[in-house]
Symmetry: C2
Subunit: 245 residues, 2 copies
Amino acid sequence: MTLRYYHGPALANGLKSMIPLLEKDLPYESVYIDLHKFEQHDPWFLKINPEGQVPVLDHDGVILNHSTVINEYLEDVFADRPLRPRNPVGAAHMRYWNKFLDEHFLNYVSIHGWHRMIGPIARAVESHEFERLMERIPLPDQRRKWRAARAGFNQADLDYATEKVAFAIDKVERQLGETAWLAGADYTLADINLFASGAINLELSFPQLVTRERCPRLLAWREKMRARPAVKLAVAGGRAAAART
Amino acid sequence: MTLRYYHGPALANGLKSMIPLLEKDLPYESVYIDLHKFEQHDPWFLKINPEGQVPVLDHDGVILNHSTVINEYLEDVFADRPLRPRNPVGAAHMRYWNKFLDEHFLNYVSIHGWHRMIGPIARAVESHEFERLMERIPLPDQRRKWRAARAGFNQADLDYATEKVAFAIDKVERQLGETAWLAGADYTLADINLFASGAINLELSFPQLVTRERCPRLLAWREKMRARPAVKLAVAGGRAAAART
């Protein structure tokens, strides 16, 4: 059995599927894709994932992409050390949160992250080269995002994203007043999603929202997350990347 | 065992969870929520779903919302007549498509549907009454959508939505050139999602996109969908609604 995990930095979606691999103690080959060099749009990588996105999991030749989908797959195949409740109601709660985070949190955290970090990278590329790089991006929305990062996201989009993140923080805070973990009594993929999708370092973009007054339970929950050995290892980059052949 | 299904018209998310109930031949009580009367925001309904959204499934007192989550739950609990592949790779393909449709199709079809159908309803409500109704809506995005429908969606948003739907149509068309059903050899929740989320009557908003030249396979697939007895019954409204007490 071979698992090969193609991923960028230990952030966002890349972190999201790495934590389950480590929680389950699954041996995997790490293949680091350098997003600063736009390797995710290189022809060799597009043969693996035509969408030109990471992470990707290759399990004995079966290619899986999208971290939420990968994580459910890992539960289906490697049922030991479950991160998805075995009772259907618990699984439904977990999926409710995954869906909420995927649709109403990650992308809004991401806009601010791109604004801060990808904007300068995109602006450092000379115009002609930038257009050449854009042509290699398979997904139109992803091209749009790169162009917006280069030009600077407009303030209305940034403000809306902040509102969405504030809404998510308050919703999570209420939930953690009722249950120990996000989807109930057990640590699940929903916690991993929340952590990786932005809770890990939410202060960087939203210092005004992440305060002991507004979300004390979220901050306490995050300490529990950070204390988990698998999470620590994932945040440090996971297993060492294999040499690329 | 009691299943009670709260739903609006046999369209979009309401249709999406009704088809599996009927495919699995599960007895359920139908509770029709009149969206034209804004019943989904009535206090009695908010006690059932604080988000003020339909559909909702009540299974012996356990409340589930969001049609994609409900449908996975039905697979977990009622494993006969499966609509989710039992092999993990097939399930992953199904979830890949569900995620794509939930994030990149449904909402964009929906904007045009709201523009055509909800706009006139929203504009027919007197201003003071409209504000009172808005105050009852729990989700900020949903309030935004009602206000946009009343004012008229802006052309840039409508154009972007059309682009997204065109992209989805072409992606589906390519897939149906490779597999008999959307997620592979078997009929799954992904087909039900595509059908209910918009394929059912895509011509209404996008006559220029739905042509025998552009998407012949999609149209042939849709005929197969429409020929299924459970789909026929669902499109006709499903089981008769119970009297509300």
